[in-house]
Point group: C2
Chain length 191, copies 2
């Protein structure tokens, strides 16, 4: 019988959010991007600035921009958001945007339609290289996360190793609602 | 090594809905309940009549009544509905309503506040006694449902054996969005 290591990880729930290049930001806003609060991952922050997400079918206001600026524009929404907007975004890792969805961003200065920009985020565990070595996992590996409680099960998640990675299991609001997880709750990873 | 039987079951996604006694229905509507379409479970039907769900925090329109009338009033919503309404309903089997949530129903004739009436539905598999025997499961057993695709995992589900049960894996809209399942899609049950 294989003995499985049990490791604990805290849950981080991502609401819909927007990553932008500085060029696109400056087409949508006059004033500079400002920090509202730091996020768990080192360097990342929730900005005070928000956008409206718009399609032919609908709109969602107050989608928060996450800083700092990136080399690509990426809008991460939930499947229920996607239904409201009439979109069918693929499930992707960050930065993997080929053949993803088209969406219009409405900012303070105007609006801009971005192609290959909107995705559903793939569930993942952030981890730094030291912890990854201890866990015996590599970047891109799939691990199983045990969910207890009234809506129990096991969810597959890919491992995202980065130097600044802070251990966290990232899911979106649909996933959190489906299995009744809360922010900062601990779950077990079956290794 | 234990060899697991694989059985297939079709997915049925339940949107928010309302089961009522005839007494409560008649307090809310003038005309009789009418059938819009039959549902998969024998005898159950979606009615043409809908209600508004109301709390101090918000409201959700067009919650459909499911017939026929029952001996209890039960409003089944998703966790994301619950957030909009400011409720915290427990996860329950049908009819297990003790200490569940309070909600106000607004019908054509007026409104009515029901206590111990609002729940999140527990994931379940409907099955008839012949199939249950073949599967070697009993009413109330917990089985594992394998989810493939881009948001894979295994979800626990309880087995609900009834004479009129038609084989189906029932989940709500949050659960369907979280693991990207569609109505009538087939999933595997690990026995």
């Amino acid at each position: 019988m294989k003995v499985r290591l049990l490791k604990k990880v805290k849950v981080g729930i991502s609401n819909r959010h927007v990553h932008l290049t500085s060029e696109v930001y400056n087409q949508l806003f006059t004033a500079p991007l400002t920090k509202k609060r730091d996020l768990t991952q080192i360097g990342d922050f929730a900005a005070n600035e928000t956008l409206t997400l718009k399609t032919e079918k609908g709109m969602i206001e107050n989608a928060r921009i996450i800083g700092p600026f990136r080399s690509y524009n990426q809008i991460e929404i939930s499947k229920s958001d996607a239904r409201k907007l009439g979109l069918c975004p693929p499930v992707r890792k960050s930065g993997d945007l080929e053949n993803s969805e088209t969406i219009t961003l409405v900012g303070e200065k105007g609006e801009l339609t971005l192609h290959n920009a909107c995705i559903l985020a793939e569930r993942h565990i952030h981890i730094n290289p030291r912890d990854a070595k201890e866990w015996n996992v590599e970047d891109g590996d799939i691990v199983q996360v045990r969910i207890d409680g009234d809506r129990s099960g096991v969810l597959d998640a890919h491992v995202k190793v980065s130097e600044k990675g802070v251990l966290a299991f990232h899911i979106d609001t649909d996933e959190a609602n489906a299995v009744l997880l809360n922010n900062d709750e601990e779950v077990e990873v079956l290794l």
